[in-house]
């Protein structure tokens, strides 16, 4: 009788990395839907474009690296990266902006480091940071939400959007559909107090509700993933709490010059970052305790850069900075093993 000789365990949970990625993609749907509702077709077109490019780049690099293309493409990680890049950049970004971003995310930030699981930085955030630094004009020309455009679903038409992405349009066209984001307005306040800004700015008066709605959609997706145990609560919650606490502290201290914590949580990429970026397991800290520290530090960094830095939003930079710190955090946040009096710290030393 010929039987196989195998090492235990002999059963495993029906789960796969592809399944994890599929769930993440599923969880982005509410956010994508919200963005499409408020910003028009741009987001969807960007997602399609980014996905196609991501698969192409990934396949090409896998081919060059002589890896089984189908096996690695099917894990879905390239698609997740593509979606995250696509929702992070302005919906009307030109195709080459997207292409540059995806190329950098997939080829440089992911595959050149060894592919899935080996990248020290979150590929989507690397791409976003690169684009923001390289093309500041294109990257800050954000679409104005429909709530600023009067009654009805008044968005740029599908073909117009295609044209703005793949061709070119008059400057005037941009002016009618784009505008500053709430964070831009709150950043470049021209000497006005927060309260005055809230009364004057069109974005803050009419547009901020759209941003809140989009954040709520991302939050929903995040809660879904949390319920499916794709990630643990540690990193996102600690990030949100840290940001909230920082904002509350300064807002309570000086409400004229600082922005309310609700706004910090509700606008920009806070929710997207908390549930889809910070939770990226590859580039984040490992242990539960490590994730809490990692998330909290990102929250603090976001507040610092938003408030005193040069850029209106700060999720990408904060995440990248903390990606750098993650291995270090890991060294000092080993959990206490069963039967041990205390946890081991540092790289070596006597294990107990």
């Amino acid at each position: 009788m010929a039987l196989i000789h195998l090492s235990s365990p002999h059963v495993s949970k029906a789960n796969s990395t592809a399944n994890v990625m599929r769930l993440v993609l599923l969880a982005t749907l509410p956010g994508i839907l919200a963005m499409t509702v408020f910003f028009g077709w741009g987001t969807l077109i960007q997602i399609v474009l980014a996905s196609v490019l991501a698969l192409l780049f990934e396949a090409a690099v896998l081919k060059l690296r002589k890896r089984p293309v189908g096996f690695f493409l099917s894990d879905g990680s390239a698609l997740v990266t593509a979606v995250l890049v696509a929702v992070a950049i302005p919906p009307f970004s030109a195709w080459w902006v997207t292409a540059t971003g995806i190329f950098f995310a997939i080829v440089i930030a992911k595959q050149l480091y060894g592919g899935l699981g080996n990248n020290p930085f979150n590929p989507a955030m690397v791409a976003y940071a690169l684009l923001l630094v390289s093309f500041p004009v294109e990257m800050t020309r954000w679409t104005a939400p429909i709530t600023q455009n009067g009654e009805g679903w008044h968005v740029a038409g599908f073909l117009d959007t295609l044209q703005v992405i793949f061709g070119s349009v008059e400057q005037q066209w941009y002016d009618s559909f784009t505008g500053a984001t709430p964070l831009d307005v709150l950043k470049h306040r021209a000497g006005l107090t927060t309260e005055e800004l809230w009364r004057q700015s069109d974005v803050l008066v009419n547009g901020v509700a759209a941003w809140y709605a989009i954040s709520a959609a991302w939050f929903m997706g995040g809660i879904f993933l949390l319920s499916r145990k794709i990630f643990t609560w540690h990193a996102p919650l600690s990030m949100l709490i840290a940001l909230f606490l920082m904002a509350s502290m300064f807002y309570g201290f000086d409400p004229d010059n600082y922005v309310s914590p609700i706004v910090h949580l509700g606008v920009g990429a806070t929710m997207l970052g908390a549930f889809f970026i910070v939770t990226d397991p590859v580039s984040s800290a490992t242990s539960n305790r490590g994730k809490i520290i990692y998330g909290a530090l990102i929250g603090v960094m976001i507040y610092i850069i938003r408030t005193w830095g040069n850029y209106p939003d700060a999720v990408a930079f904060s995440v990248l900075l903390m990606n750098l710190c993650a291995p270090f955090i890991d060294q000092y946040t080993q959990p206490r093993t069963y039967g041990h009096k205390k946890a081991n710290r540092g790289t070596k030393g006597k294990s107990q």
């Binding site: 009788m1 699981g117 959990p335 093993t337 069963y338 294990s351």
Partner: protein
């Protein structure tokens, strides 16, 4: 009631327990052959007591334990031993082990056996010995000899006895069925164990998926007056892990590297309690156990009471195997069990389950994908490890980091691998890392051992060198002191010597000188006569002879006197030297004269020749005298003034002589070399003379040395010690030491080493003694 705590992690794999609990425990058919591995437990394998051809009865002891941690093996049925050889055994390695094969005679005849009527009446040690003799080892999976655990109350305080009835692995229901059907056996066994360990509290930990078993146990416990709590714990794998169950029931963690007894807890499996009950109350040794035979490839999964040694095949047949559907045969549970590749492998004491799985049931693992550090393994780990980090470290061979992340606290439960979405065989990585580290450690130990040995040797050599050096210094210091003392004393003894010995010597010398002068004159005259070819040669010869005899007498007198002056000092020695030189010169002259005479073809040449010969002898004697005096001098220098050691003087003498011999040899060689190198004839002849002279001296020196050596031997013989024998003894002692040292290197066991060390020390002492004795004569 007891509170239930929780442990970190854990998983909920499909239980698959229902299939095998529908039917009651059946009885496996008696197979034709039973294969009994000598190692069915943790510890040393048992040693066969029977030989091929022996008839055995059911329950007869067929192999006895070797060492403390070992278990005996009994014949599960009556029959004949047909083979004792290596057969495949149920082990993860797939290797084979020594087994006794019994051919069943079908009668199943029991050996005489009877239980202990009142186990509380006998000594505890006796009771434990009885359990040991029954071959009971843990039946949960690890197979640790039970009697060893029962001794724990002797050096540990056992507060809590935990009966492990969790049976957390999927598929397995052997303990469940045992509890359902034979709860009184379990309680009876617990009573025995409690009697031995005297715990204040007994907890039975059982998962909440075994409702029937819980009811049965509760009913049985009612009739028991022990403090037993049945603690129902939530179903979660691996709650049946010893450490996890302890945490669940007591909220105490067993410290890493310690055993539960260190915190006052002893764990026993329910199956073990039943075996203890049978051994104590019925006198039946452990020869059968309950095995769950399940899996989709058998049509009638159920539990069977199986004789140890029954091949898996007969169990599978008893449960109606579908051979075409079988793809994987697992012994144990699906999480930690081992696959077997052969259905002739026998049931042993730890075989609790046999899963005949189909391809759909246990599909081959899909190819592993990249680890995305999702952390699901971390959430599942019951030991609070970071499996994803351990995986990276094991993969990258960063074993130091893996250890720092407490790799060795991994219990290999497989929960991490179970949840891994990337299908990474994590447990294999950990096993690999562990074995690599163990290998490294072993090599490190070896290297350390070698280094220690080398250092010890180095230290010994240094010590010896230092001792030598110290001895040498002490000797030098002594010599210097002696010299100083002698110098200081030189004036006095010299005066004395001049008063006493010197006058004689002086006179003697003068006499010798006179004689010499006369001899010279006579020779001269003789020479002249010879030259002149005149008559009266005979007269001259007479005169020469006279002079010679006189000179001889004088020399003799001088020789007789020489030992005295040698004691006196250097001056006499010098004179002796001079005398020797003079004698030599004379000899040369005589030789020359002889040559002349020969040239001229005179008569009496023969006589002259004889004269020359005598002179030659004399010169030799003078030289000898001088040389004899010289070593004596040296001896005096080194030797402490009044030390009556028998062989000390000759010894030093011998040394000096030896040295001289070697010096002579060197000189001779040099001179010979020079001779060969010489070109002109004159030079050559001169050198030739030198060489001859040196040769002579060398011979003399050698002779003197030999003489002294002989004297030494004689002296030693006088002292009653055969020097040769002594030397042989010393050499033998040395050889014994070397042998001992070599044995020591090879010896591994501590007690063995101790013995060898003792022997070595004794041998060394003997050798030292011999050497000391020898050095007195050498």
């Amino acid at each position: 009631m007891s509170q239930v705590f929780s442990f970190h992690g854990g998983i909920h794999p499909p239980e698959n327990k229902k299939q095998s609990t529908r039917a009651p425990i059946g009885k496996a058919p008696l197979p034709q052959q039973l294969v009994l591995p000598m190692q069915q437990h943790i510890g040393g394998p048992a040693d066969p007591l029977v030989s091929v051809g022996d008839s055995v009865l059911k329950g007869q002891l067929i192999a006895e334990p070797i060492g403390r941690i070992s278990a005996s093996v009994h014949a599960p049925t009556s029959g004949k031993v047909i083979d004792i050889a290596h057969y495949p055994v149920p082990h993860a390695s797939g290797l084979s082990g020594e087994c006794i094969v019994i051919e069943a005679d079908g009668e199943d005849r029991w050996i005489e056996h009877e239980g202990i009527a009142d186990y509380k009446a006998i000594e505890r040690t006796e009771l434990i010995e009885h359990i040991r003799a029954s071959g009971i080892s843990g039946m949960g999976g690890a197979g640790f000899p039970t009697d060893v655990k029962l001794h724990l109350s002797e050096d540990h305080i056992v507060n809590t006895l935990i009966i492990n009835a969790a049976e957390c692995e999927p598929y397995i229901t052997a303990d469940d069925m045992l509890m359902r059907e034979r709860p009184h056996e379990i309680i009876g066994g617990i009573e025995v164990i409690a009697h031995l360990l005297r715990p204040s509290h007994i907890l039975i930990g059982i998962e909440d998926n075994k409702t029937n078993a819980i009811h049965a146990l509760e009913a049985a416990v009612k009739h028991c007056d022990l403090n037993i709590d049945i603690v129902v714990v939530p179903t979660k794998y691996p709650s049946g892990g010893e450490r996890q169950l302890i945490k669940l029931l007591t909220d105490i963690e067993v410290p890493a590297g310690k055993i539960p007894a260190d915190i006052g807890i002893v764990c026993q499996n329910v199956g073990t309690t039943s075996a203890v009950y049978r051994a104590v109350h019925k006198g039946e040794p452990l020869i059968s156990r309950i095995v769950t035979v399940t899996g989709d490839a058998v049509r009638h999964p159920k539990n069977l009471e199986v004789l140890l040694g029954t091949p898996f095949r007969s169990l599978l047949e008893a449960c109606d195997l579908r051979p075409e559907a079988l793809s994987r045969l697992v012994m144990g549970g699906p999480m930690m069990g081992v696959t077997v590749d052969n259905d002739r492998i026998p049931v042993i004491k730890t075989t609790n389950c046999l899963i005949a799985a189909t391809q759909q049931e246990m599909p081959p693992a899909p190819p592993a994908q990249a680890c995305i550090r999702c952390g699901m393994c971390e959430q599942a780990c019951p030991a609070d490890l970071l499996p994803q980090q351990l995986y990276w470290f094991a993969k990258g061979r960063e074993f130091d980091k893996a250890r720092h992340h407490n790799l060795f606290d991994c219990i290999e439960c497989g929960a991490c691998a179970y949840v891994c979405p990337s299908n990474i065989p994590l447990v294999q990585y950990y096993r690999f890392a562990k074995s690599e580290i163990r290998t490294e450690e072993r090599e490190q130990q070896k290297a350390d051992h070698a280094r220690e040995r080398f250092e010890a040797r180095q230290a010994r050599l240094e010590r010896e060198a230092a001792e030598k050096e110290a001895k040498r210094k002490a000797r030098a210091a002594e010599a210097a002191k002696a010299q100083e003392a002698r110098k200081a004393a030189a004036a006095k003894p010299k005066e004395e010597a001049t008063e006493q010995a010197t006058p004689d010597i002086k006179q003697l010398k003068t006499a010798a000188a006179v004689a010499r002068t006369k001899l010279k004159k006579a020779q001269k005259a003789f020479d002249e006569a010879a030259a002149g070819n005149s008559e009266g040669l005979a007269e001259l010869e007479q005169a020469l002879n006279d002079a010679r005899s006189k000179a001889e007498a004088a020399e003799k007198a001088l020789e007789a006197g020489s030992p005295a002056p040698s004691e006196g000092g250097n001056a006499e020695l010098k004179q002796l030297k001079v005398a020797a030189a003079v004698a030599r010169t004379k000899l040369k002259k005589a030789q020359d004269a002889l040559k002349n005479a020969e040239d001229k073809g005179l008569d009496g040449i023969d006589k002259l020749r004889a004269t020359v010969e005598t002179l030659e002898n004399k010169a030799d004697e003078a030289q000898k005298a001088f040389e004899a005096a010289q070593p004596a001098e040296t001896a005096e220098k080194t030797e402490a003034p009044a030390k009556p050691e028998p062989a000390a003087e000759p010894a030093l003498d011998a040394k000096a002589l030896k040295q001289q011999v070697s010096i002579m040899r060197t000189k001779l060689k040099k001179a010979e070399a020079a001779l060969e190198a010489a070109e002109s004839d004159d030079e050559r002849s001169a050198l030739q003379a030198d060489v001859d002279d040196l040769k002579k001296r060398f011979d003399e020196a050698t002779e003197a040395f030999n003489k002294v050596e002989k004297a030494k031997m004689d002296a030693a013989a006088q002292a009653g010690i055969d020097l040769k024998q002594l030397r042989i003894d010393a050499a033998m002692a040395k050889a014994a030491i070397t042998k001992g040292e070599r044995a020591l290197k090879k010896a591994e066991a501590d007690d063995e080493r101790e013995q060898i060390e003792q022997e070595l020390v004794a041998a060394k002492a003997k050798s030292d003694e011999l050497h000391k004795t020898l050095s007195q004569y050498d």
